[in-house]
């Protein structure tokens, strides 16, 4: 599913405060600061694969909108 298609079910908010990424032992929930402290290679990998789920104030936001704020 593309980001544009996914936008229909997502909050129009921009930015994010929480993110869930896949990990070796299942999904990991990270704060924004923790996500930003991951190595760039890892963050880029999640974004290319579209496996990072972003949230702002409890509402899911698209990766595109998450990166805007």
């Amino acid at each position: 599913m593309t980001d544009a298609m996914a936008d229909n079910n997502l909050s129009p908010l921009t930015g994010y405060d929480r993110v869930i990424v896949p990990g070796a032992n299942g999904p990991r929930e990270l704060s924004r600061k923790q996500f930003e402290q991951l190595p760039l290679r890892e963050r880029v990998g999640f974004l290319i694969a579209g496996t990072a789920q972003f949230y702002r104030m409890g509402a899911a936001v698209s990766a595109t909108n998450a990166m805007k704020g």
Partner: protein, 239 residues
């Protein structure tokens, strides 16, 4: 190799390429700042030389040996020592801009210029402001070791001139032995915040490069999810 494996490899290769480009952008940005600051100092060195000569001519143009009027040593010091102080930094700024050695030589020369201007004005306390101005301009590099180099030069200079030629740096013959510590203390106070500032500036550049990589990754994701890719993957899986 199966189609999903090929897709995974391609994604990893794309991620590697994006990170490499981000690193290259970060390095290029830093180089641009180093070179631009080298150019500023190249011109500043020439300006200071001219100003130093003007100062020597204006403040103490002549000396007297009995009834014989001669050019004051300060004028020669400004012309010759000032010229030597400026020559190497100007050369390095023009021929080797952006290199580590260039900015450290510039830092040394700039703070020695402070000492020379202080000397030429007879140790005037107001000319000591040149030290703080110089350290501030050094922060343009956004490279904290350069600020340390400048501060070390000024501390050593105050210590040695304070011991061997106090009139040159303080304008008096017998300052307290700890006077250089007082000056160094204010410099340390000042550079502590300058270092925080330069580190923040450097971090901001890193964040900008990372941000551009993340946006590139999003674009890559959108491209990979396009119908063209879906068709290619389906076709590859079918063969």
């Amino acid at each position: 190799m199966t189609a999903p494996m090929q897709t995974l490899d391609a994604a990893q290769a794309a991620a590697d390429a994006i990170v490499e480009r981000a690193e290259a952008r970060y390095d290029a940005h830093r180089q641009e700042i180093f070179r631009a600051t080298d150019r500023i100092f190249g011109w500043l060195m020439i300006g200071q030389w001219i100003f130093g000569i003007f100062l020597a001519v204006a403040v103490s143009p002549y000396a007297w040996e009995g009834k014989v009027k001669t050019i004051h040593a300060h004028v020669w010091i400004a012309v010759i020592l000032g010229g030597l102080l400026s020559a190497l930094p100007v050369y390095l700024a023009r021929k080797h801009p952006g290199e580590v050695l260039t900015r450290h030589v510039i830092a040394v020369a700039q703070l020695l210029w402070s000492a020379l201007l202080i000397h030429l004005t007879g140790g005037r306390i107001e000319t000591h402001f040149h030290v703080f101005g110089s350290l501030a301009i050094l922060t343009f590099y956004r490279d904290w070791p350069v600020v340390i180099t400048g501060a070390a030069v000024t501390a050593l200079n105050h210590f040695f001139l304070g011991v061997f030629w106090p009139e040159s740096i303080y304008g008096i013959a017998n300052p307290e032995w700890w006077r250089f510590l007082e000056h160094a203390g204010w410099v340390v106070f000042c550079i502590s915040f300058m270092i925080i500032g330069t580190r923040r500036g450097q971090k901001d550049m890193r964040v900008m490069a990372d941000r551009s990589a993340e946006l590139e990754a999003l674009s890559e994701n959108a491209w990979r999810n396009s119908s063209v890719i879906d068709r290619m993957t389906a076709k590859a899986a079918g063969t």
